[in-house]
C-alpha cells in the first residue's frame, strides 16, 4: 500500500531524515515512534506531499508522489500535528468544505457525513463554530476531516497529544476500529500508545530508522539479558547465594519479601545460557522449593530507552 524507499530530506546541512525505507501493507496499523525532533512529522509531511524529499521515493497505492501527486493525495487522509481547521466555520460547514475540496460526490456525501460525525462523536456540536470548541473536540474534527472521502490510507501525526486521559482512550479505540477498513500510520512519542494499537512499530531516532518490528518481537529481541522473576521458599541469604552460584547468572535482586521464608527475586542471566534448569536443580538439592518462575520480557518503554540511548546496530 505504502512503499517508502531511501527517503532523505536535507535542511541545509542538517539532515531531518536520512535513508528512511519501509513498507506498509494494506490494513496494517503502523506506529511511528521516536522522541521529539526525530523526523516523524517530516516523514509524514513527505508522504502526504506537503513537502518534498531531497531524494528517495514515496509510492502510495502504486502512484508516485512526485509524478502523480493528485492521485496519491486522493488516497490519503491526513491529520497533521496541528489540526487544520478554519476557526470561523461551523463543524458542519467545515466538513462540507473538505468534501468539496476532496471532490466527494454530493449524493454520497450526505450519508457519509452523518457516519463520520457519529463515528468521531461530533454530531451534537455540528452547528457550533470550531473556534468555540474544546481541544478534544477540535482534535476529533481534525480526525473527521481526515476521514472525509473515506481514503484508504490514514496518516495521523500525534493524534492523542494534548487530550485528557479519557479522550485519549476514546481516540485510541476509534483508531483501532478504523484500522479494520483503513491502512494507518500514526506517530507518537508515547510508548503505551504503540503497544495498545499498533501491529508494527517503526522506531526512528535522529532521522534514521533504528528498528521495525512488532511490539512483542522488539521487546524480546532487545533484551541483552534474559530476566526472570522467581519466588522461592527458603531463607533469603542462602537462596541468593545459591542463585548467584549458578553459571550464567549476572545479578540477583530481591523484589519482594512475603515472609521470612518466602521471597521473590529478579534474576538477570546471560541470554545464551538457559539458567532455569540449573536453578531448579540446585534449589531442589538444597531443599528450597520454587513456587514461581516466570520470564520477564523488557517492556517497550525500556526498549525505547535502549534504542535511543545506545547505537543498537545489531537490532536492525
Amino acid at each position: 500500500m505504502i512503499e517508502i524507499k531511501n527517503l532523505t530530506k536535507d535542511y541545509g546541512k542538517v539532515k531531518a531524515i536520512e535513508d528512511v525505507s519501509f513498507t506498509v501493507e494494506k490494513g496494517e496499523i503502523v506506529g511511528f515512534l521516536g522522541p521529539n525532533g526525530a523526523g516523524k512529522s517530516t516523514t509524514m509531511n513527505i508522504i502526504t506531499g506537503f513537502i518534498s524529499s531531497t531524494s528517495g521515493t514515496v509510492r502510495v497505492a502504486g502512484h508516485d508522489i512526485l509524478e502523480n501527486p493528485v492521485e496519491v493525495k486522493k488516497h490519503i487522509g491526513y491529520l497533521p500535528e496541528q489540526p487544520p481547521l478554519y476557526q470561523d466555520m461551523t463543524v458542519s460547514e467545515f466538513l462540507d468544505f473538505c468534501a468539496s475540496l476532496k471532490k466527494v460526490a454530493p449524493r454520497e456525501w450526505k450519508s457519509q457525513k452523518k457516519d463520520i460525525m457519529e463515528l468521531v462523536k461530533v454530531t451534537h456540536v455540528s452547528h457550533r463554530l470550531i473556534k468555540n470548541l474544546s481541544k478534544g473536540y477540535k482534535q476529533r474534527v481534525g480526525l473527521a476531516q481526515a476521514l472525509v472521502g473515506s481514503p484508504e490510507v490514514l496518516i495521523l501525526d500525534e493524534p492523542t497529544v494534548g487530550l485528557d486521559p479519557k479522550q485519549i482512550i476514546e481516540i485510541r479505540r476509534l483508531i483501532k476500529a478504523l484500522g479494520k477498513n483503513h491502512t494507518i500510520i500514526l506517530s507518537t512519542h508515547i510508548l503505551p500508545e504503540v503497544s495498545a494499537i499498533c501491529d508494527r512499530v517503526i522506531i526512528i531516532n535522529k532521522g534514521r530508522i533504528v528498528a521495525i518490528d512488532t511490539p512483542e518481537n522488539l521487546s524480546r529481541k532487545l533484551s541483552d539479558f534474559s530476566r526472570f522473576t522467581i519466588t522461592v521458599a527458603g531463607p533469603q541469604k542462602k537462596v541468593r547465594e545459591i542463585l548467584q552460584g549458578v553459571e550464567g547468572v549476572k545479578d540477583v535482586e530481591v523484589s519482594s519479601t512475603f515472609n521470612e521464608d518466602e521471597a521473590s527475586y529478579i534474576v538477570e542471566a546471560d541470554k545464551d545460557i538457559d539458567v532455569r534448569k540449573p536453578i531448579f536443580n540446585k534449589l531442589a538439592a538444597a531443599g528450597y522449593p520454587i513456587l514461581e518462575l516466570r520470564s520477564m520480557n523488557l517492556s517497550l518503554e525500556e526498549v525505547f530507552l535502549q534504542l535511543t540511548t545506545t547505537e543498537a546496530k545489531e537490532v536492525v
Binding site: E71, F97, Q145
Partner: protein, 235 residues
C-alpha cells in the same frame, strides 16, 4: 477550486473585514464625491475615479493580507496542499475570492455615478471605460496583494509588503520620467498606471486590457511558484 472561492468569499463576510473595508471605501469616496462635484461635472470622472484608484492602494493590502498568511498561521495550508487539488487551483481560488469581494465593493460604489445619472448628464462612455479601468486596476492590485500574502505568515507584514510594492509599481512611470532615456522608456512601457490613465480618458484599448490581465496573471503565477518553492525548500 470553486470550494476555495466559496469558502474564502464567505470568510471575508463572516468576519468584519469585508464590511469595514467596503464601508470605509464608500465613506471616504463620498467625501471625494462632494469635492469632485464642486470641481465641476466636466472633469468629474477624471477626478473622482482617479481618487478611487488611489484609495485602492490602501484598501487592497488589507483585503488580501490574510489570504495565504492566515492559512499558514492556522495550519490550514496543510489541508489545502495535501488535498487532491493542484497548487494553481488553490491560488486562483483565493485570488478570485478576493476579486469577488472587490467586485462587490465596486458594485456598491456605483451609487455615485447613479446619483450623477439621476441629477445630471455625465458622459456615459467615459464613465463606463473608467469603471472598466478601475476593475482591471483592482485585479492587478489584488494579484500583488495575494503574492505578498504568500510570502509570510504574518498578516501585518503581508499588508506592508503589498502596500510598498503597490506604491513602487504605481510610481514606476514617475521614476521613468525622472530617469529618462532608454530606461525611462522601458519603465514607462511597464507602468500599468499609464495604461490605466487611458481608461478614464475614455480610451478602451484592447492591448491595455490584455496588458493588465497579464500583469495580474504574472503575479498569480509567481504566487504559485512561491508556494511550490516552499515545498522544495532546503532551509
Amino acid at each position: 477550486m470553486l470550494a476555495i472561492i466559496k469558502r474564502d468569499f464567505r470568510s471575508y463576510f463572516n468576519s468584519p473585514i469585508a464590511y469595514v473595508l467596503i464601508g470605509l471605501f464608500i465613506c471616504i469616496m463620498s467625501l471625494f464625491f462632494v469635492d469632485s462635484l464642486n470641481a465641476g461635472i466636466a472633469s468629474f470622472t477624471t477626478n473622482f475615479i482617479s481618487s478611487m484608484s488611489y484609495l485602492l492602494l490602501f484598501i487592497v493590502p488589507i483585503l488580501t493580507m490574510r489570504s495565504f498568511a492566515e492559512d499558514k498561521k492556522s495550519g490550514t495550508e496543510v489541508l489545502l496542499m495535501t488535498s487532491p487539488v493542484r497548487v494553481y487551483q488553490v491560488v486562483l481560488g483565493k485570488y478570485l475570492a478576493a476579486t469577488a469581494v472587490f467586485l462587490v465593493m465596486a458594485v456598491v460604489s456605483l451609487v455615485f455615478p447613479l446619483v450623477l445619472l439621476i441629477y445630471g448628464k455625465p458622459d456615459g462612455a467615459t464613465l463606463f471605460s473608467s469603471y472598466l479601468g478601475f476593475v482591471l486596476l483592482g485585479m492587478v492590485f489584488i494579484s500583488v496583494g495575494i503574492f505578498a500574502s504568500s510570502l509570510t505568515e504574518n498578516q501585518i507584514v503581508a499588508a506592508i509588503i503589498s502596500f510598498v510594492s503597490l506604491f513602487a509599481l504605481t510610481s514606476i512611470s514617475f521614476i521613468g520620467n525622472y530617469v529618462g532615456g532608454f530606461v525611462g522608456k522601458v519603465l514607462d512601457q511597464l507602468s500599468f498606471i499609464e495604461r490605466y490613465y487611458e481608461f478614464y480618458y475614455g480610451i478602451i484599448d484592447i492591448t491595455s486590457i490584455i496588458f493588465m490581465l497579464s500583469f495580474a496573471a504574472v503575479f498569480v503565477f509567481l504566487t504559485v511558484r512561491i508556494l511550490e518553492r516552499k515545498r522544495w525548500s532546503q532551509g
